[in-house]
C-alpha cells in the first residue's frame, strides 16, 4: 500500500479522480473504512468486491447523496465536495446507479433531460427542443431508442440505455457505472462496451462496478478490489488472472465449481407445457420439465423467457395452451394458485415484485411460507421464522447486522439473496428462478449453485432463466432456447455450447436460418445491427 502511495507521489500529473481515506458508517454497519483509489485519465477502472463490500456506498458518497464521515475526493487534483447528484454532474461526474432510476410515466427524452429541460423563457418547457436534443444525443450514441417512447414500456435493456444516455447528456469527465450489465445478456453487453470505448478519451475515465468476472477482461484496464469496506489492491487487468482477482475479493480460496449431477434421461415428466400462447408475444411454446431437473432457458432480450414464466404461474393472461402437472391437466389462474400447486416464481425485478423494501429481512424471508411453516391457528411463530431466517442469512452469506434489518438498507446483491432465501424456505416442487444471480458476487453465486443442485438432488424441479450464458450452460441439464416468443431449440447439456445456444437464440421464424446465424454469431452489437438494418429496410 505504501509503495502504491509513493508511486503516485512521483507521478507528475494528478489522477483524474482520487479517493482518499474515505470512511462511512451506518447504524450497526461500517460500510467503508479508510478507502482509497485512483482513476487515471483514459482508463476503465473496474471496482470489484463481494456483496456489501461498500462499492455502491462509495459512489453515493462521491455524488453527495450521503456525506462521508472522513476522507476526501479529488478531481484533477482539486478537492471536490458534491452536495448532490446534480452538483456532481455539474462537476463532471455522472453516475448510473445500481437500481434503475427512471420515471416510467415519462418519455425517453423527458427522462434523459430531467432537471435540465430546455425552456422557452423561465418556466415554460420547450418540448420540441427537448425531443430534438434527445434525438441527436441518441443518434450520437447509436442507441435504438425513440425520444417519445414511454420508458415504462421499454425492456430492461433499453431502460439501461436510457440511463446511459442520461448520464452522458452532459459533458461528463468521470462516468461511474454500478453494475450496468447485471440485467443484460451477452449481445447487449457488447453494445454497452462499445459505448464505453467510445466514451473513454484522453481526459475521461470510467469506474465500472461488476460481479461478472468474464467481462472485466473485456472492458477494464485495471481492477481495484475492495473487501469489507477497505482497499485491498489494484492490478493490471492484462497481467492478472480472474482467479487472482477473486481470491483478493473474498480473501479465501473458493471451493471448486459446483456442477449438476447427472440426471437419468427417463426420469418422470413432472410438468408438461404445450401450445402456450399469449396475445403479446408467446407462440406455441412447449416443453417438458422432469423431476429433479434443472431446465435452463436461454435467449436474447425480448425472446419471451420471462413471459413463459409469468404465463405459467398465471401472472399474465394466456390465450391458448395446456399445462399438465403430474399427468393431470391444470389451469393456473394466478400466482396464489401456482403456489397451491407448489410452483414458486422468483421474479427478475426484485424491487418491484420481489421484496418488501420497508420490511425486515426476517419478514421477507418468511413471507411466502407463512401459511405452511410459520403460523399456528393464525398466530405467527416469530421465533421459528427468525431461526429459519438466520439459517439462510448464514448459508447465503447475507451481509446484514441482524435479521431485523430493513430490507432496503441491504446492498443490492444482499437484497437479491433475501429474495432467493424466500423461495428456498418455501417447500415447492417446481421453482422458477428468473435471473436468480443478478448482482450476486462470485462467492455467493457458487453457494446458490450448490443449493440449486442439492434441491434438484432432492427431486425438486427448477426452471432457470438467465441472461448469463455461462451460468445456463454450466447449471442446466437441458436448455430451452427461445427467440421472439417461440421455442427454437432444445439442447441437452452435452450438445449445448455458447455457439449452439446463440445459433438458436438468433433464429428468426420469419427469416432463413443462415441469415440469422450470420447476423447473430459474428456481430456482438446485435441489437444495434438489427435496428440499423430494420431502419434501412424502411
Amino acid at each position: 500500500m505504501d509503495q502504491d502511495r509513493a508511486a503516485r507521489g512521483q507521478a507528475e500529473e494528478p489522477p483524474l479522480l482520487k479517493v482518499q481515506g474515505v470512511s462511512k458508517s451506518f447504524p450497526g454497519v461500517k460500510a467503508l473504512s479508510d478507502m482509497h483509489l485512483d482513476l487515471r485519465r483514459g482508463e476503465v477502472l473496474a471496482l470489484v468486491g463481494e456483496n456489501g463490500a461498500g462499492k455502491s456506498t462509495l459512489m453515493k458518497l462521491l455524488s453527495g447523496i450521503y456525506p462521508a464521515d472522513e476522507g476526501a475526493f479529488f478531481l484533477n487534483g482539486a478537492k471536490i465536495q458534491a452536495t448532490g447528484p446534480k452538483h456532481a454532474q455539474e462537476l463532471g461526474i455522472s453516475i448510473i446507479h445500481q437500481e434503475f432510476n427512471l420515471m416510467p410515466d415519462l418519455t425517453v427524452a423527458q427522462n434523459i433531460f430531467i432537471g435540465h429541460e430546455p425552456r422557452s423563457g423561465g418556466f415554460l418547457l420547450n418540448e420540441r427542443r427537448l425531443n430534438s436534443q434527445a434525438r441527436s444525443l441518441i443518434e450520437g450514441l447509436h442507441l435504438p431508442l425513440e425520444p417519445k417512447q414511454l420508458v415504462g414500456n421499454l425492456t430492461v435493456a433499453k431502460q439501461q440505455m436510457v440511463e446511459i444516455a442520461k448520464a452522458l447528456a452532459y459533458d461528463a469527465k468521470v462516468l461511474i457505472m454500478d453494475e450496468p450489465t447485471a440485467a443484460l445478456n451477452e449481445a447487449e453487453v457488447g453494445v454497452l462496451h462499445g459505448l464505453i470505448r467510445r466514451f473513454v478519451k484522453a481526459d475521461t475515465g470510467v469506474i465500472y462496478i461488476s460481479h461478472r468476472m468474464d467481462e472485466l477482461k473485456a472492458i477494464s484496464d485495471r481492477v481495484t478490489v475492495i473487501r469489507d469496506g477497505r482497499y485491498v489492491g489494484t492490478v493490471d487487468t492484462q497481467q492478472t488472472t480472474m482467479k487472482e482477482v477473486i481470491s483478493l475479493m473474498v480473501g479465501r480460496e473458493l471451493a471448486g465449481e459446483a456442477r449438476p449431477e447427472h440426471v437419468v434421461e427417463d426420469r418422470e415428466v413432472l410438468l408438461s407445457v404445450t401450445g402456450l400462447s399469449t396475445k403479446a408475444l408467446l407462440k406455441d411454446v412447449g416443453f417438458d420439465l422432469r423431476k429433479g431437473e434443472i431446465l435452463g432457458f436461454a435467449g436474447l432480450m425480448g425472446a419471451g423467457r420471462t413471459e413463459v414464466a409469468r404465463a405459467l404461474v398465471g401472472a399474465d393472461k394466456v390465450d391458448a395452451g395446456t399445462v399438465t402437472l403430474r399427468g393431470e391437466q391444470v389451469h393456473i389462474k394466478n400466482p396464489a394458485d401456482a403456489a397451491r400447486y407448489r410452483i414458486g416464481y422468483l421474479s427478475e425485478d426484485r424491487k418491484q415484485f420481489g421484496l418488501l423494501l420497508e420490511q425486515e429481512v426476517n419478514a421477507n424471508i418468511g413471507l411466502s411460507s407463512l401459511q405452511e411453516l410459520f403460523q399456528h391457528l393464525g398466530f405467527m411463530k416469530d421465533k421459528a421464522m427468525r431461526a429459519k431466517s438466520r439459517e439462510y442469512v448464514d448459508t447465503l452469506r447475507i451481509k446484514t447486522p441482524s435479521v431485523a434489518q430493513t430490507a432496503k438498507n441491504l446492498s443490492g446483491g444482499n437484497q437479491q439473496k433475501v429474495v432467493i432465501a424466500k423461495w428456498l424456505v418455501k417447500d415447492c416442487d417446481i421453482l422458477i428462478f428468473d435471473e436468480p444471480t443478478r448482482g450476486i458476487d462470485v462467492g455467493a453465486k457458487e453457494e446458490i449453485y450448490r443449493l440449486l443442485n442439492s434441491l434438484a438432488g432432492q427431486g425438486k424441479s427448477i426452471i432457470m432463466i438467465s441472461s448469463e450464458l455461462p451460468e445456463v450452460l454450466r447449471m442446466s441439464h437441458r436448455i430451452v432456447v427461445m427467440s421472439e416468443g417461440r421455442v427454437t431449440g432444445l439442447l441437452s447439456a452435452a450438445e449445448a455450447s455458447q455457439e449452439s445456444v446463440m445459433h438458436y437464440a438468433t433464429l428468426r421464424p420469419d427469416e432463413s436460418a443462415e441469415d440469422a446465424a450470420e447476423l447473430g454469431l459474428d456481430e456482438p452489437a446485435l441489437v444495434a445491427a438489427r435496428t440499423d438494418r430494420k431502419a434501412g429496410e424502411r
Binding site: P85, N101, L102, D105, I114, R119, L154, G302, G485
Partner: protein, 336 residues
C-alpha cells in the same frame, strides 16, 4: 410457423406520447368520461322536466366551479402520489378569512381577495412543509389540517356566517356577467381561466414535469438532482392557492361566508379527479379529465336532487358511480 411474429424491438413500443404528455389511451379515457357525461346529461334532461333550462344549467355550472376549482389543485397533488383532505374545510376557512378581511376589517375588495388567496396558499404551504420536510404522510398531514381548518373557521367567525351585503362588488366576482354576450356568470369564466392555466402549468412547465416525475418515481427524481422536497411544497402550496380561490368563489356566490360548510367537498373533488382518470398511485393524470369529472359529479348531484331522490340515496349512487368509473378505467388499462 406461418404466422409472422412481431420483432422484439417493436413489440414493446406502445403508441407514443404526444407533445402534451397525454397518450392516445389517456385521450380515449377522457373521451369515455366525456361520453358518460353526455349520457348522464341526456338521461336527466329526459327524466326531469326541470333539468334542462337556463337557471338549472347555471346552478350546475356554479357547483362545478367550486368542486372543479378544488379538484384542479388536487390533480397536481394526486399526480405526485399525494392526497389533500384539507381542501373542503380549508375552503370554508378561506371564505371566513375573506369575510374578516373585507366585511370586518373593511379592506378593499381586490386586496381582500388577494389576501384570501394568499392565505389559502399559506395553508397549502404548511401542508407541503409537513409532508415534504417533516415527512408526515400526506393523508395524515392533510387530515390534521382538515380538522384545524374546520375548527379555526368556527373560532374566527364565532360560528356565525359573515354576510357580504355591503360589498356588492365582491358578490359580482361570482355572479356578475363580465361578458354580457356570453351570458355566463363570472364564476364560470374564472373557472375556465383557472382550468386553462392549470393545463398549461401541468403540461408546459417544469412544475408540471416534476409533478409527473415525482409521482412516477420520487427516489429517481431526487437522484436526478431535482429538489423534490421543494417541488412537493410548491405543489401543495399551489393546491392551497386553489383552496383560497374556491373560498372566494363560493362565498361570493352565496353572498356569505359559511364557516360550518366545507367538509365533504374534499371527497367530491377527489372523486372528480379520480373519475377524470388521474391515478391515485401517481404519475398519471390530466386537467381535462378533472374538469369532466367535476361536471359529472355536479350533474349527478343536481339531477338526482331534481328527481327528488333523498340525499342519502344520492350518496349511495355517487359512491357506486365512482366505483364503476374507476373500475372501468382499470379494466380498460388491463385490456390494453
Amino acid at each position: 410457423m406461418s404466422t409472422s411474429t412481431v420483432p422484439p424491438d417493436q413489440q414493446e413500443q406502445q403508441p407514443t406520447v404526444a407533445a402534451l404528455g397525454t397518450s392516445f389511451k389517456d385521450r380515449l379515457q377522457q373521451f369515455l368520461a366525456f361520453a358518460s357525461l353526455i349520457v348522464i346529461f341526456v338521461f336527466f334532461s329526459v327524466a326531469s322536466p326541470n333539468f334542462f333550462n337556463y337557471a338549472n344549467i347555471t346552478a350546475i355550472l356554479f357547483s362545478t366551479v367550486v368542486i372543479g376549482t378544488l379538484a384542479l389543485g388536487t390533480t397536481f397533488v394526486i399526480i405526485t402520489g399525494g392526497i389533500d383532505l384539507s381542501i373542503g374545510t380549508g375552503m370554508a376557512l378561506c371564505a371566513v378569512i375573506s369575510g374578516e378581511l373585507i366585511v370586518n376589517a373593511g379592506l378593499p375588495v381586490p386586496l381582500g381577495v388577494l389576501g384570501t388567496i394568499l392565505f389559502g396558499g399559506l395553508l397549502g404551504l404548511i401542508n407541503g412543509f409537513n409532508i415534504a420536510i417533516l415527512k408526515i404522510p400526506p393523508f395524515i398531514a392533510t387530515l390534521a389540517m382538515m380538522l384545524v381548518a374546520q375548527g379555526l373557521a368556527l373560532v374566527i367567525s364565532h360560528s356565525t356566517p359573515i354576510y357580504f351585503s355591503d360589498a356588492p362588488s365582491y358578490i359580482k366576482i361570482s355572479t356578475g356577467h363580465l361578458i354580457p354576450a356570453l351570458n355566463l356568470p363570472n364564476a364560470v369564466l374564472v373557472f375556465a381561466f383557472l382550468a386553462v392555466v392549470s393545463a398549461v402549468l401541468l403540461n408546459k412547465t417544469i412544475l408540471g414535469r416534476y409533478t409527473y416525475s415525482i409521482g412516477s418515481n420520487e427516489e429517481a427524481t431526487a437522484l436526478s438532482g431535482i429538489n423534490t422536497r421543494k417541488w412537493k411544497m410548491v405543489v401543495y402550496a399551489l393546491a392551497g392557492l386553489f383552496i383560497g380561490m374556491a373560498g372566494v368563489l363560493i362565498s361570493a356566490r352565496l353572498g356569505s361566508a359559511q364557516p360550518a360548510t366545507g367538509a365533504g367537498y374534499e371527497l367530491q373533488a377527489i372523486a372528480a379527479v379520480v373519475i377524470g382518470g388521474t391515478s391515485l398511485a401517481g404519475g398519471k393524470g390530466s386537467i381535462v379529465g378533472t374538469v369532466i369529472g367535476a361536471l359529472i359529479i355536479s350533474v349527478l348531484n343536481n339531477g338526482l336532487q331534481l328527481m327528488s331522490i333523498p340525499q342519502e340515496w344520492q350518496n349511495v349512487i355517487l359512491g357506486c358511480v365512482i366505483l364503476v368509473a374507476v373500475y372501468a378505467d382499470m379494466a380498460r388499462k388491463r385490456a390494453a
